[in-house]
Symmetry: D2
Subunit: 390 residues, 4 copies
């Protein structure tokens, strides 16, 4: 079932660069890498300060000797280990992606890098060329294309389910810049507000590249041309927080893109709609387990992640093969385990347990459930009479 | 951030009992245990056949010598290891929970067990008493109470946000028994159809105990009395697939519960509604990141997992502290990593890559994104003119 | 198109009994009767006080001589007019339905009556028998069965779209009794709180009969047996505000019904779900223009009022044959007309116009729209350049 | 309650111009005018062919002598009647609006006209000026601004509920031109496809002016400037079916508008979103009874038409002052009346009744409901035992 375990008999040995607290995306990368048991995170560069790198490394479970202060040091040291790293995950500020990815490629390592790949298009081109030349595997975490129903959307478009492509619309609205965060930047956003680090256009780099990739991924086509309004909604702001893009795809379809990070009160809203000659499909991030398809006959079909009638590309991206078990199911399940872990630790260290961790069902609550079953059966057996639960 | 790492300097050593393929819940347990890096799964009993146990253990990454054929053997062997197991996760058919959990408790191990705790209420009572006597930590995976917004619901009810409790409604409808699975049982369901293994009432054991726990968890109260209709919708079926329960809570509120596993076309539908003297709250599994609260003044508020205005109990159960990043975000992100892993393996073993794994964005696609940013800026700078992307 | 106009060359002459302000349902009856131009409301009994009857009659446009103080007087007087009434609409408190409907039937008039038909089952039986004997046309305003998508649901069930019927669920939750209205009854509710007028069980009469009719209408079957919990959620209340009913239909399917008028914060929530051997359908009042159907293959289809793929029974109940034009479209359109009417009156009577009526688009706003069209075309023609609108 | 009845003691006398079958909008105008009893439709021009005008007039209930073949004739003839028309409703193809409205204004009549007001901006300007000069009341049926929750939206924006305006987005997508209707035009669309009648840009005239008005109405501001892409999605089509507009409002906020009539499978989708410095509001046509408001604190409030907490502008546009009674409630109620009318006619003319009209509940079904109430009470009184319904 796990093809890495099957092929190698062990997980791939991965190094992380960046992602120390208070990064938001660092934990996401590590959780994602760990989720399927395909990677072991065995080394990393979590700070350029060697002392801090070691402390942060320890907090994510790295051995002290494999927490490095520089990528170059890590590559050199790991290269001579029998159990050295095989792949590198880059989650640093945008301006350092080029240097790190280039070094990894040069060392023959596979690389997965946060988006945007670089701030400068020539740098990005150089990386793509270098990676192709070296034959290494690469990935950029345009993670929205990882949703099973986005893969279903792509497969449907490819199979002609909407006919000839006519129009694609992508919206990505967020509230990250709705307040004047310039005056109170959290560390996760501070570097983004600096064009030298975050790139020449905050909104385009941060969410525009996601919207662009979604349009390309679902349509299976690259952009041919565009006309863009890029600017700032908040008076006095010096970085871009808004863009409105008209575009055409290589195959001739038209497109529109609305992206905004100053959308007060919005929850990371992403919408993809693809219109063709015979129908359309629509996906919303908020209901990411479902995909709508409608056509000119009045048919409106809802596809559900986990149901039997999906395309292979969607099925293989699904962990729980049952419709109605949304993917947050794992996280809710993990919350029971997480609180249980705190109870285990509290017992072992003889420490008080956080009352907020003490609400998970234990064997006492489990026994209540079994009594409920017995009482319900007794009621049914005795003419559905009311039965008290002692 | 990870309290286990902080306290022990390492994850808790966990053994799994049960959950080999084709179990549906086995992978969920293991993913949940692994998700936060709080547990290492180091030993297990995946079959009573020693050979099969070793093979299945290897497929989930266990060392051969720590894959056992019997729980008793495992407990004895691990007890004398310096790095022996500290906790046991039980995910076997219901009829074996009692024996396994009792053995683990007797060995002083912490235990997390799938629901229902047992088939017989006296057994359940005995386990709860034994666990309390031994002082071990226990948990039952009534996982729906792990959803952040269910925790928010409980906290709101406790804080009086709906006034005095009047009525609680729980629905749990599934389609698992909509077809005559008796004639074509998959392995995951076969034992459930056998009352000796699955317990005296399939629908009550399988989903009724979840519904019961949700009612208790959110209200903070146990059942006082109930009247139940328990039966079978499908003609000729010998196990229960349907129940309708009226109940009262200890505090005097009334309740109703509808549970059904023969609901053709339904996607694991779960609904919880709590009505009080001044308002109500409502949660649906399908939109598990959100919770509705409405009151008699016309106010209808939607709470979102990840937003700033939640109760501490909900916040601590949240991994991505941003509204609009649903929990499936991790899985979508992990899908990028999973496909990247296949590419890494294909390269290392010089094997062809599954075309379905080859759609993730690589550095070529990353470079397209950077070109998009540059083109959009050029368009804006030059009067929003149309710019071609070479 | 209007079959009454086509057959009679004029609308049917209707009398109304009851419905004077502050009745909520009176205006609904009159609007519904008038909506399609099939009825002229030409006579009525709006009060037993002759003076008040005349005043209230005038306010709904009745000629003074056709506003009566008693049903018997109306029937006698109208019988000798060449243009006398042909049908009677009854919208009085429940306890008077029997007397009024019996008199109308005896006079050979067709009768449409608000629900419940009577408070006493023997009275209802007598009315049904009398109407059948007299051969008059009758209707009871179980209006939810008038929704096009409920008719679609009935037609789908009849056509076997969900297979053999297994389970039907109806919910009807309202907030009308969520507050202690006994202490501050509005006139529309006061008589309902008096069992002598409203009948022996408020919740059953008021909304239970609607839920019962929906179950029967959609399934095409009557109830065979039931078990009911009927009671009161609010402490100290003397009328019923809550019921939970288990039932079986004549064909053997099971059912459940949850009805409650003390559901604080709920907006008149109605849900109908019908499960069969191959799939189910679901309808919610809140989204009454749509009907969901799902089956065991993963197919989930949304039917839309106004789309081409509906059953004849649904199509003929549809006024705007275009999906996406919800039925409130008429009311929104009528709001423009209503405010325009106020402007017409203000001009004719030389009175100031209510500023709240002055926001509708006039010719000035119409001209702005035409300028918008011209500006958009100019922009496109001139390279999509920015054009100012003077 | 009806201010026209209160002020004039009778409805306003209205003439209709246009709207004969198979017009879609004709019946909507007439239903809207009639809905509140504020207008009597007493005269009309339904065709320029006198014979056809009389026949069509009869079908909507006009007296033969008040069905005219030309607007000028109607104005002249009605002017000398004591009960002559007071207002004119224009629902003809766009190119005739100017001539008809000008004649009505010149005669001192109040005028309500379908949109767009004219095809030519100078004509529109002339009409607006003439109407202002004559002091007549005018309205253009930009009917979406008649929805109560659009009025709530405008009132909220005006009251500062979203802070300073930053961005407004309007979408209007329809499927009317998704198929090649040029090859199979229904009569309602044929004139629209002719630029001489429908105006220079079909999509802008037909739905663009609605989108434009919604932006202006909700923001309370006119457009300052715009940049538009206007074109055609369907290859070979000669009329516009698509536009993408960037705009600024007078107050400085930005805006975007997406309009398309070739959106295959879409149901008349309209969306309005207004973002300000502290929050935003969102309205969708599909859920027109509700309005969402969210702000930067995590508050997400849903306003419901009919609830107590609305602005006066929304309340006065509401006919059923109870949340959860959507406006289609009237139409569903009217369907009961409509089928009852057919039964009345069938009886009077001794004709068979259409079986599709025979499904409404009659007194027999009413009696079943009363029996249900009695059975439920008996069950409760006798220990909630199962009771059979004879």
């Amino acid at each position: 079932m796990n093809p890495v375990q099957a092929a190698l008999g062990r997980p791939i040995r991965l190094a992380v660069v960046g992602g120390a607290a208070p990064s938001l995306i660092g934990p996401v990368h590590r959780t994602a890498a760990r989720l399927d048991g395909r990677f072991d995170i065995v080394a990393g560069v979590l700070s350029s300060n060697a002392e801090k790198a070691r402390r942060e490394g320890a907090s994510i479970g790295l051995a002290p000797e494999r927490s490095y202060g520089a990528v170059e040091d890590m590559i050199a040291a790991e290269a001579i280990r029998a159990d050295g790293i095989e792949a590198v995950a880059v989650m640093t500020p945008n301006d350092s992606h080029f240097r790190i990815a280039r070094a990894a490629i040069a060392a023959g390592l596979d690389v997965i890098c946060d988006k945007p790949l670089t701030n400068d298009p020539l740098d990005a081109e150089a990386l793509a060329t270098a990676a192709a030349g070296a034959g290494v595997a690469t990935a950029v975490t345009h993670n929205y294309s990882g949703y099973p129903m986005i893969r279903q959307a792509r497969a449907l478009v490819e199979a002609g389910a909407v006919g000839e492509l006519r129009l694609i619309q992508v919206e990505y609205l967020g509230a990250g810049l709705a307040l004047r965060v310039e005056d109170m930047p959290d560390a996760a956003r501070r570097w983004r507000l600096d064009p030298a680090k975050g790139g020449p256009s905050l909104v385009l780099a941060d969410i525009g590249t996601h919207a662009h990739h979604l349009a390309c991924y679902v349509s299976g086509q690259n952009f041919a041309a565009l006309s863009a309004e890029v600017g700032t909604l908040m008076p006095g702001r010096r970085v871009h927080d808004y863009a409105q893009v008209r575009f055409t795809l290589r195959g001739g379809a038209r497109g529109s893109m609305s992206i905004c990070q100053g959308a007060a009160g919005v929850e990371n809203h992403i919408l993809v709609r693809v219109f063709g000659s015979t129908g359309h499909i629509e996906w919303r991030h908020r209901e990411h387990n479902h995909l709508l398809r409608a056509d000119t006959t009045g048919m409106t079909q809802i596809y559900s992640r986990g149901s039997a009638n999906l395309e292979p590309a969607a099925k293989r991206a699904t962990r729980i093969p049952r419709a109605g078990h949304p993917e947050g199911f794992h996280e809710a399940f993990a919350n029971i385990y997480a609180d249980f872990a705190e109870a285990v630790v509290a017992r072992r260290l003889n420490q008080p347990l956080d009352p907020l961790a003490a609400t998970i069902p234990g064997f006492r609550e489990g026994a209540e459930g079994v009594r409920f079953v017995a009482a319900a059966l007794r009621s049914q057996d005795e003419g559905q009479r009311w039965v008290t639960l002692g």
